[in-house]
Point group: C2
Chain length 147, copies 2
C-alpha cells in the first residue's frame, strides 16, 4: 500500500498521532485510510495517548462525513493482512474507513451509489474519479472537520 505513505496528493489531515489519506478507490465516497504515525505493528501496542487521539479523530471524522456527504453510517476495519505477505511481516497499524450511504449521492456531477448498503462492504472495488474531483472530495472533508 505504497500510496498511503505519501503525504500528497491524497493526504487529508493529521492529528497528533495519526495521518489520514483519501483512498484512491472512491466507490464508497470518501473512503479513507487512517495510519498511525509511530511505527507500531498491532492494536495491542497502541499507547493510551494514541487511542485517545484516535477516539477523537473518529468522532470528528464521522461528523464531517455526515455534514459533507450525508453519510448514513461507517465501517471501520483494522486488518493488516497484506503486511503478512512479506517475510518478515511489516505491519503498520492503519484503519480502513468506509462511509456507507443509504441513498445515492451526487458530488461534483459524479453519482456515488452504495449498492451494498446494509450489507458487508464490497471487495475489489476500484472506482477512480478524475483527479480534480478527488481533490474536491478532500477539500469538502476538510471544510467540514471541526478543529
Amino acid at each position: 500500500m505504497e500510496q498511503i505513505k505519501k503525504p500528497q496528493p491524497n493526504f487529508i489531515f493529521q492529528t497528533e498521532h495519526w495521518n489520514v489519506y483519501l483512498n484512491p478507490d472512491q466507490y464508497y465516497l470518501g473512503r479513507s485510510v487512517v495510519v498511525a504515525k509511530r511505527n507500531v505493528g498491532s492494536m495491542s501496542e497502541l499507547k493510551e495517548d494514541e487511542w485517545r487521539d484516535f477516539a477523537k479523530l473518529v468522532k470528528g471524522f464521522e461528523s464531517a462525513f455526515k455534514k459533507a456527504f450525508g453519510a448514513t453510517m461507517f465501517n471501520w476495519t483494522c486488518l493488516m493482512n497484506d503486511a503478512y505477505k512479506n517475510n518478515p511481516p511489516n505491519p503498520q497499524v492503519h484503519w480502513h474507513f468506509r462511509p456507507r450511504y443509504k441513498n445515492p449521492v451526487k458530488f461534483e456531477g459524479v453519482k456515488f451509489e452504495d449498492k451494498e448498503f446494509g450489507n458487508h462492504y464490497a471487495r475489489g472495488t476500484n472506482f477512480e474519479v478524475p483527479e480534480k474531483i478527488f481533490l474536491k472530495i478532500i477539500e469538502k472533508i476538510k471544510e467540514n472537520l471541526q478543529r
Copy 2:
C-alpha cells in the same frame, strides 16, 4: 445476530464496559464478538472510559490468543451493517474479532486452517464445531486471559 445478546452458552468474559462472546462460526479459531454493554449506536458515541477499557481488552485478548492457539495476528472490524436493514435502524457498537493463523492449528482433534492468511478474511464461512469443543475453546481462552 440474536446469539450475541445471550450471556450463555457462548459468553467468554466481560470487562467494565464490554461483553465478549465466541462466534458460532469457528472457521477462524476463536472468532469472537466484543459488544458494548451500554446501548450505543456508533463509534463516535463511545465515551473515553469505554475506549480506554476497549484498548485494555484488545491487549489482553490478543495476548491470550497468541498463548492459547498461537495466533499470528488479528483482524478487528466494526461494521454494524445488519442493523441498517431495519427501519428504524438499531445499531449497537460491536467488534468482530478474527484471529488469523499463518499455520494450521489442531485443537482437541479438530484442524483449523486459515486458507486466506495474508488476505482479507473469507466471508460466508460457517464452520460449526461440536458443542463440547466450542466450550473447550472458551475455556482455553479464559485460561490464557490475564486478569
